[in-house]
Amino acid sequence: MERSTWFSRFTRSKMIVLLVLYVILAAIFTVVSKGQYLSWYNIRNIMNSMVVTAYLTCGAAFLMIAGNVDLSTAQVALLSGAMLGTFLQMHLPWPIAILGVFVIAAAVGTLNAVLINEIKFQPFVATMAVSYIVQGLMLVRLEGFSIDVDSPPIVWFGTYRIKGVLPVSIIFTFIIFAIYGVILVKSKFGKMLYLVGGNPTAAKLAGLNPKKISYILFINNAVLGSFAGMLQAARLKAATANGIANGMFAGMTGAILGGVSFGGGSGGMGGAFVGLVLLNGFNAGLSTVGLSPYWQTVASGALLLIALTFDYFNNKRLASAK
């Protein structure tokens, strides 16, 4: 009996298509920018632009694989920045301030999970409503200003560069992404996400607990969101009312680009990571060749469509190869 191999799993994943797409795009950008695209400065810029969104992507990918969705994460991130600033202003020690923010985020995640699992709201509707409430609370807190975040350890984490070159926050982000990837592929929890996302009824009848998984994921997602928001504040040394691109879909865009589908049960962290790199690398490329930032948004949308089209044809190719 034939078994799955590393190679068969790799070719079936959507990563390969995106990698090819990115290599082609990177080559074009490199030529057009006369090599500038591959400079360390530019590469670091790409990585820097990914750092905050990466946490949102981890959380969103996990939720989507399990067949759920959360539109409130970006607002949880911004509220978290604001609350971090607030707690620091109150002269709470920084670990306590961070812990407090995590508690708030976990409460929002629990609220989402309760609305969806107990009152049976559609995830889209419930989390959209929660998103507005959280955004509102954040705006009330900031009242149009920004709050300084100046606790040295926090600022260190957001801005320190090893040997003046490599930001610690980037390394940390890569580690987090890798841990989530390993959990998804190797652990029992990861396997359960796919099964629950693929068919919650069947999973329940096989003794899994979709509700418990849903709670864990919503809380995990909100906590990751709050981490992103605090990191953002740490890097800017201030909490502001905006600054997370793509709003409600911030974390999802990279994941969708990387092959995680809204239907649940498919996709993976490798794809999501490549999707994130592609998204940010593409935008950075457009900057290096001098396209106006306004047009970059148009181009990002087009990229998403192109990637999905590629994916569609790749699926057809795989299906007909069987």
Binding site: S4, Y194, L205
Partner: protein, 497 residues
């Protein structure tokens, strides 16, 4: 001259599979032609060609002497062809009238709907067929059987000459089947050309005039129904003589002590249900659809709440707050609907088999791929599941093999299944595999497992089970031993009020 449709040398290939080859037969007006064959024989592909869903690679379709190309489903409708699929194509929230007229709503001036005409025509059709349907009712509120009638009315309203049915009786109860057959007979008398796809041999004899037998995409035989018999058909379908399936079963002779005892079980759907299941016994649940059989086993399995009553395993009272608790006590449920409740369709065989035993496949912090694949491989070998590889997505397997994957999941050596509940395990699978499933039930019984076997096919349930419990409206209306069971006495209990 009589009207007809003729398939001539039809062939269709998909990558890697020759789905159809050299199919030639003719269906004439006022005749019901059966398309018979095991799963994968090519019946669905032929229907897809007829409905314009796909085009043949070779061959011709001739309607009344004229060669035709059916380019699209819309094209099929304009050519007077209606295909009624198992998955109904109705808008559930719209009324019967609107569904009957879907596709070409009659309008008055300025595009205003001609509601009077719609109502009138719909009522005429309803009266013609003598159906107790209110034309204003939303279709979603009708039973599955009447929804199917609405599909037929839709075809009739379009004045389709050729009407094809794809396993129309699969979701119907025996009384509903009688109504359906009356309708088909009416259509036949009006000179429609009817193509009837089914697995069920008994009804082929009841309703059809001619039979076309397909096997592996080829035409094995065409015959006149009146001149053939059941064993001829089975031999033609499976290519071998399976003889009397039931008398060949090797049954378990040693039924042990009481394993499961249910006393006065009650919830919204189940009323005062009590029964016993012994070690090594197969208890059948017969009854019409909606009689509460699935609800009883769901309650036992902890999937639905229980209002009152007790469940004892080995004499010990058990309370399950979730499916997991029931599984831990050795109960396994293979649900009624494989696709919706049983399998994770887009995951592979390994994942689907390992679902309930993930805990036992760990090696350290992680799931061991080797242990998982070993487990899956043992199941694939044990039940001879036809697949090229363990990472085949289960949606690509045939119905019978999907059922075997579910059985493999619940009876693996990592499970300690003592009570196996099979809810409609043979639904939509072919004759050959059905016989295999019956034998598997007997084999489970021989291992001392108590088997609960739910089926809407009377013949099957009274021949496989040792003891048959009959339900109606959430109540148990009777219990019959296999030796005394006949279709008549079980059906009488199933319809008892």
């Amino acid at each position: 001259m009589a009207q007809y449709i003729e398939f001539s040398g039809i062939g269709k290939a998909y990558p890697g599979v020759q789905a159809l080859k050299d199919i030639s037969f003719r269906a004439s007006e006022g005749r019901v032609v059966a398309l018979l064959g095991e799963n994968g024989a090519g019946k669905s592909t032929l229907l897809k060609i007829l409905s314009g869903d796909t085009q043949p690679d070779e061959g011709k379709i001739i309607i009344n002497g004229e060669e035709n190309r059916i380019a699209s489903p819309y094209d099929a409708i304009t050519k007077g062809i209606s295909v009624i699929y198992q998955e109904r194509q109705l808008a559930p929230s719209m009324s019967v009238i609107e569904n009957v007229f879907a596709g070409d709503l009659p309008t008055k001036r300025f595009g205003v709907l001609d509601k009077k005409k719609m109502l009138q025509t719909t009522q005429e059709i309803i009266d013609k067929f003598g159906l107790p349907i209110d034309p204003e009712d939303p279709v979603g509120r009708l039973s599955v059987a009447y929804q199917q009638m609405v599909e037929i009315m839709k075809a009739y309203r379009r004045d389709s000459k050729i009407i094809a049915f794809d396993e129309p009786t699969a979701p119907l109860t025996d009384t509903e089947i009688a109504i359906l057959f009356r309708l088909i007979n009416q259509l036949r008398e009006e000179g429609k050309i009817i193509i009837y796809v089914s697995h069920r041999l008994a009804e082929i004899f009841q309703i059809t005039d001619e039979i076309v037998v397909l096997k592996d995409g080829r035409m094995v035989k065409t015959m006149v129904t009146a001149e053939s018999n059941e064993s001829d058909l089975i031999r033609a379908m499976v290519g071998r003589d399976i003889g009397d399936t039931y008398s060949n079963l090797s049954r378990n002779e040693n039924i042990g002590e009481v394993l499961l005892e249910v006393n006065n079980l009650n919830n919204d759907m189940v009323h005062d249900v009590s029964f016993k299941l012994h070690k090594g016994e197969i208890v059948g649940f017969a009854g019409l659809i909606g009689a509460g059989r699935s609800e009883v086993v769901r309650a036992i399995f902890g999937a639905d709440p229980i209002l009152s009553g007790e469940i004892k395993i080995d004499g010990e009272i058990c309370k399950f707050s979730s499916e997991k608790d029931a599984i831990d006590r050795g109960i396994a449920l293979c649900p009624e609907d494989r696709k919706d409740q049983g399998l994770v369709m887009w995951r592979d065989i390994t994942d689907n088999i390992s679902m309930p035993v993930l805990d036992k496949l760990m090696s350290g912090l992680f799931i061991s791929r080797k242990k998982s694949e070993d487990l899956a491989e043992r199941a694939v070998e044990k039940y001879s599941i036809k697949t090229p590889s363990l990472d085949k997505i289960v949606s690509e397997l045939s119905g019978g093999n999907q059922q075997k994957v579910i059985l493999g999941r619940w009876t693996s050596d990592l499970m300690d299944t003592r009570i196996l509940i099979l809810d409609e395990p043979t639904k939509g699978i072919d004759v050959g595999t059905k016989a295999e499933v019956y034998q598997m039930c007997c084999d489970f019984a021989k291992q001392g497992i108590g088997v609960i076997f739910i089926s809407s096919e009377l013949t099957e349930v009274i021949n496989v089970a040792d003891n048959i419990i009959v339900m109606h409206n959430g109540h148990i209306t009777g219990e019959v031993r296999r030796a005394e069971a006949t279709e008549e006495n079980v059906l009488a209990l199933a319809m008892l009020d």
